[in-house]
């Protein structure tokens, strides 16, 4: 899923890909022109303080090989390999530049691009053409720069003079400011812009690239992004601990079993009270480390038997091995915790896994089900579904959002009216609802339709209108959708991990399960009249599907839950 960048766009690398071993390809061609494409490793003052980090045809790699020049391949005029985590600390910025060797000017170049490929998949693309330039003889195409984390910026800034002048610029003169981010007109980038985890949970098929087709060869292993890669939601293993099968399936040898209380463990295990000093807190009968073992559960002073060696429910030889998977090898019963977030004792340590993520962006997903908006960034109010605020900090005012909107949506499918509240002020507000997953969608001038029930919150800068899809058989008489347009973020909630389907001639969705679709798609209500409809238990024949018709590149989002 390549994200299309326009001049001035910036993004965190971690939002684009989890990888740090990146391939940067530049395609720049022009009739009769030859180009020198180079990478400047700049310091915090944007100077080339160390010549060894000027990677070009005469110096194909930096000293520790974090930046390597790879040459022309896969349709790219020039390519680099950048290993971000090996770049030394003094290098704060990598600037990729192209200069014309010989005569010519940048307005003559054919459409080209700078792209970032990670793991065989293109994750970012900045397309440019000669129309953006005039008499420049060099252009700074894009930057990787370190601002807390590595980020990528599409620069596209022309520069008079050739490579020498560019060098001089980085060497001595004041580095020019990056152009401010212009209002983008990019294709819908459905990826959450501020996902804390690198994995987008909600990928959408990339929309048709606005750049003219150029017939370049895709990078090795890359496939046309027709379908989204499976969201890594499912990649997480459900179970915490791995399954330790006893070697050879033997009956566990004697050894301290998980339940045992060794009379004198060499290092007192943290936390759970076997320390002599803690026994004072224990009620009588518990944790007595007395030499005379109390009857009952194994605390003899010698070999520590435990759970598993006790005759009453021990490992009867016939019992299937592996049922207590960890027993054979577990040397210290209450020793190091496995993978549970119990790195230390105490409330703070136990809860450290659930800490708030740091601020910095307007919309920040805290986890899959909770999103935070920082009203101070961007300075515009947020409209949110009433009751979706779970927590806020700072001076935030909540006010009822006028009845004009609410009135229009009364009579929504479920009979509830959707009511919004306006959040204004300075501070952070956390939104969540019913443990549904939340997905921020950043609109950059394009439009999306969202089923009204699935709207959680959105920037007030977005224009929205309520639409009614009527159809015979839709519960409540009509399906209400909200069409959003403009520049801003809308947060959509789904029950469960949704599926993003490309619109094909035969794309249908249940009107209760559909969440959102690209606004260019046309919706047709198709009553399901089937010969075999009675074959489905409970199907009354009333079920209504929505059919979507659109040009390729549009998509439909469906949740695994029928409201």
């Amino acid at each position: 899923m390549a994200r299309e960048f326009q001049r001035g766009h910036k993004a965190k690398i971690s939002d684009l890909t989890a990888g740090t071993d990146l391939y940067v390809g530049v395609q720049i061609t022009g009739p009769g022109l030859t180009f020198d494409i180079s990478c400047f490793g700049l310091d915090a003052d944007e100077r080339l303080s160390d010549d060894r980090y000027f990677v070009f045809f005469n110096q194909p790699k930096s000293p520790e090989e974090s930046i390597q020049l790879l040459g022309a391949q896969s349709g790219d005029t020039e390519s680099f390999r950048v290993t971000l985590d090996r770049i030394p600390a003094q290098i704060q910025k990598l600037s990729f530049t192209a200069t014309i060797d010989g005569a010519g000017q940048m307005s003559q170049i054919a459409p080209g691009y700078l792209r970032v490929v990670a793991g065989g998949e293109e994750v970012a693309r900045y397309a440019f053409s000669g129309a953006e330039f005039s008499t420049e003889r060099a252009v700074m195409l894009g930057d990787f720069y370190l601002k807390d984390v590595w980020r990528f910026a599409a620069v596209g800034q022309g520069f008079d003079g050739g490579l020498d002048a560019l060098l001089k610029n980085f060497g001595g003169e004041v580095a020019e400011e990056e152009p401010a981010a212009p209002q983008p007109g990019a294709a819908p980038s459905f990826a959450p812009p501020a996902q804390a985890t690198p994995a987008p949970a909600f990928g959408a098929p990339s929309a048709p690239a606005p750049a003219p087709a150029q017939g370049f060869a895709p990078p090795p292993g890359a496939t046309p992004p027709v379908h989204t890669p499976a969201p890594p939601v499912h990649a997480a293993p459900t179970i915490v601990g791995p399954l330790h099968t006893p070697p050879g399936g033997t009956v566990p040898p004697p050894g301290p079993a998980p339940y045992a209380q060794p009379p004198g463990p060499p290092g007192p295990p943290p936390g759970y009270g076997q320390q002599p000093g803690q026994t004072a807190h224990m009620p009588p009968g518990y944790g007595q480390q007395a030499p005379s073992a109390p009857p009952g559960y194994g605390q003899p002073p010698t070999a520590p038997p435990g759970y598993g060696q006790q005759p009453q429910y021990g490992q009867i030889p016939g019992q299937a091995p592996g049922q207590y998977p960890g027993q054979p090898g577990a040397p210290s019963p209450y020793g190091a915790p496995q993978s549970a977030p119990q790195g230390g004792a105490g409330v703070a340590a136990a809860l450290s896994a659930f800490k708030e993520t740091p601020t910095g962006q307007r919309w920040t997903p805290q986890n899959k089900k909770l999103i935070r908006v920082d009203l101070g960034i961007g300075g515009q109010p947020v409209l949110a579904r009433q009751g979706s605020m779970v927590l806020y900090q700072g001076k935030v005012d909540f006010s009822y959002k006028g009845a004009g909107f609410a009135g229009r949506i009364v009579g929504n499918a479920t009979g509830q009216e959707m009511q919004l509240m306006r959040c204004t002020g300075q501070g952070q507000v956390f939104f969540a609802e019913n443990a549904t997953q939340v997905h921020p969608i950043e609109l950059q001038g394009d439009a999306i339709c969202v089923s009204a029930e699935n709207v959680l919150a959105f920037d007030e800068s977005l224009q929205y209108e309520v639409r009614r899809i009527e159809g015979h058989g839709i519960p409540g008489g009509a399906l209400f959708t909200m069409q959003f347009q403009g520049t801003g973020t809308i947060v959509v909630k789904t029950h469960g991990a949704p599926v993003v389907l490309p619109v094909t001639p035969t794309t249908f969705a249940d009107c209760n399960a559909v969440v959102a679709w690209s606004a260019a798609a046309q919706v047709i209500v198709s009553s399901q009249v089937r010969m075999r409809r009675n074959a489905y238990a409970g199907d009354t024949g009333e079920s209504v599907n929505l059919q979507f018709r659109a040009a390729p590149g549009n998509f439909v989002v469906v949740q695994p839950y029928e409201v």
Partner: protein, 226 residues
């Protein structure tokens, strides 16, 4: 035969309380170290574990808890492995180690019986109708397990000037040293929170943490079942 299920076998016991997955709690039970757990939360056990619903001591402490009907805690004792869950809610295990935490009654799953605990009405909140503004303050050396509908978030109140406001339905737990007060709707027209239309939040100030769940469903399912 059961290859796909093999990955769900219990991991070796390493502590008194552990998560099995995100939604289940595994407790290593031992004689003399009893456990207090929500009635109805047991999903499985092995070994010899006995249950005493509503023991007299608990009834005494929790006499104010909700409106009669007996205390919703049971005392579990014995040796073995005990598995607890609450209708698929996320389980968070905390080793108190001398700290204290104040937990919303519906979000408390289990805790060591030897901990110091008490049921108290949240101060400053005079009229919270219905659920769970009886909270349980727990402190001492031992383990506590909380439930949360969805993965919770922990917010540091920071001790700054600004208070942290929480929807009471989404509140799970907080540090007892925080100052709590109720806050009514800000403006006549603001309607935040669900239900009666009465808008209130709880305001926390001071040094400490607040644990919030991403859901306003504070229904006590273990009680609803009866």
């Amino acid at each position: 035969m059961n290859q796909p299920l093999a990955g769900f076998a219990p991991a070796p016991v390493t502590a008194r309380m552990e998560n099995h997955g995100n939604h289940m709690l595994k407790v290593a039970m031992q004689t003399g170290n009893d456990l207090l757990a929500r009635v109805g939360s047991m999903v499985a056990y092995e070994g010899f574990v006995q249950y005493e619903p509503n023991p007299p001591a608990v009834r005494q402490i929790a006499r104010d808890w909700m409106t009669g009907e007996g205390a919703p805690l049971m005392k579990c004792s014995g040796d073995g492995l005990l598995y607890l869950a609450d209708y698929g809610a996320n389980v968070v295990v905390i080793n108190l180690n001398g700290d204290a935490i104040s937990v919303n009654a519906t979000n408390l799953l289990a805790f060591d019986a030897h901990l110091t605990w008490g049921v108290e009405r949240v101060k400053g909140l005079a009229k919270f109708a219905g659920q769970g503004l009886w909270n349980t303050k727990i402190s001492g050396q031992g383990w506590v397990a909380l439930t949360s509908r969805g993965k919770p978030i922990v917010v540091d109140c920071g001790g700054g000037e600004d208070e942290t406001y929480v929807d009471p339905d989404a509140l799970v737990a907080w540090s007892p040293n925080l100052k709590v007060k109720g806050k009514r709707s800000f403006k006549a027209q603001s309607l935040i929170g669900r239900g009666s239309g009465e808008a209130f939040q709880m305001a926390f100030s001071g040094q400490g943490i607040v644990v919030v769940q991403p859901s306003e469903d504070s229904t006590d399912r273990l009680r609803v079942r009866g």
